[in-house]
Symmetry: C2
DNA sequence: AGTTTTAACTTACCAAAGGAAAGTCTACAA
DNA sequence: TTGTAGACTTTCCTTTGGTAAGTTAAAACT
């Protein structure tokens, strides 16, 4: 059987095409994204697109999956350099708000793609597990700073807050500001946790360190080539 | 000139059609909403739809405008019965989370509609002023409970949190829970404001009262007929 | 009253879109 | 060598958004 090679080619094409589709959504919006344009961007004909994805919905699903894994890959990458609970908490924040990911194009694309979710079973499932994982990550780290019950509630609220900041960035015409978003998030987190002054200071240190890590790691040529 | 009557007919048709389009988005999603189906729901042919709206974008814009004004109308209605700063603050909360408005259908439709915003100038403007108004309302009421700078920041965060809760409700398959959403919001607000125990109690009283008002006023036959 | 204008609505049409189906080509397996 | 699987192309069909040319009915003007 040619299992290995054929599967490999199919995987490669699907990856190329979902990347092209992502570009198309960024440029033309959901309604302006046609199979022909996606093919054009990828340098193939419409037929090829439909050969690898059974229909437009499943193509969009792949795009959705892709843009969600960009985020979790970033977090994994950041966590290869974190050392304390503080830093791991801030790694989550920076994975969501570093300029490479949190920018006008990506936010708008994310909002556009969201329209596909309510009537697409698979997208809903992807969305559900992604949110579950990020909330779980947050809760796990927050447990170092408060009791279990509060950690759960605060993790949930912060997760929702992240989504909210993303939506707003996508809906407004204005260019999202990475630092401003993180400032806002920090303010909310500090208050929700009821941090003392020394704790706040530790958070500030962790933030500064993770910021440095993020700008080094997530902007590296190798990383951008592979996941973005 | 027949300014008065013609304008009136046009206005009526546009209202009927945008309501029908909203239903279509609820039922079939953004991509499944065709002009023919919208016409079908409204009981007219596709041609009529395009006679009153120059294209699909402007129809969707009207739907968007409509669903946003549902929210602000609710707030105005609630505020006809509020008496204290506490109650006015909670009126904002209930306007956003009362079951009549905060339910699966509407949330999903809102998310679906959002995809139109990034590439539609007019939708962006509508979205911008709506968010500005709700943030401004929040800030105005919060000033009774904290200093100006904090009020501004907290108002912004709570506004974003509202959007976040809505997106999640739209993206997840699960039925949104009005009371749970309000609980979550209350928790966040109490912590962000750093309320003392007696203050918390006043909030709880205000919440209870506005809840009663909301279930009476916003579920009344007259109100639902007019704005929903 | 009779004519003109305006705006609601209809019909017929078109180009582009999503998608199905059948066919071509190439590489490998038997 | 022959058969087969999977990558890719081509052709065709239906639906969709959108235009343009009617048709009708009522208001506006003279």
């Amino acid at each position: 059987m040619m299992q290995r090679q054929s599967k490999s080619i199919r995987t490669i094409r699907r990856s190329e095409l979902s990347r092209a589709a992502f570009d198309a959504v960024v440029r033309y919006g959901l309604r302006g994204t046609t199979l022909e344009r996606v093919g054009e961007i990828a340098g193939v004909s419409k037929g090829v697109v439909l050969h690898h994805f059974k229909d437009k919905s499943s193509l969009l699903e792949a795009v959705f999956r892709r843009s969600n894994s960009m985020l979790s890959d970033s977090l994994v990458e950041l966590n290869r350099h974190t050392q304390s609970p503080y830093e791991r908490l801030w790694a989550i924040v920076y994975a969501n708000f570093v300029e490479t990911i949190f920018n006008k194009q990506v936010c708008q694309a994310w909002v556009s793609l969201s329209a596909e979710v309510p009537h697409n079973e698979m997208c809903q499932r992807v969305q559900t597990v992604c949110n579950a994982r990020i909330t779980s990550n947050l809760r796990h780290e927050l447990r170092n700073f408060s009791d279990a019950e509060d950690a759960g509630r605060i993790a949930h609220i912060l997760g929702v807050l992240i989504d909210g900041i993303w939506v707003r960035a996508g809906l407004f015409g204005a260019t999202p500001d990475s630092d401003a978003a993180i400032d806002e998030f920090e303010f909310a987190m500090i208050r929700l946790l009821g941090c003392s002054a020394p704790e706040q200071d530790l958070h500030r240190q962790a933030r500064a360190k993770v910021k440095t890590i993020a700008s080094m790691v997530l902007n590296s040529r190798a990383f951008r080539q592979n996941v973005l």
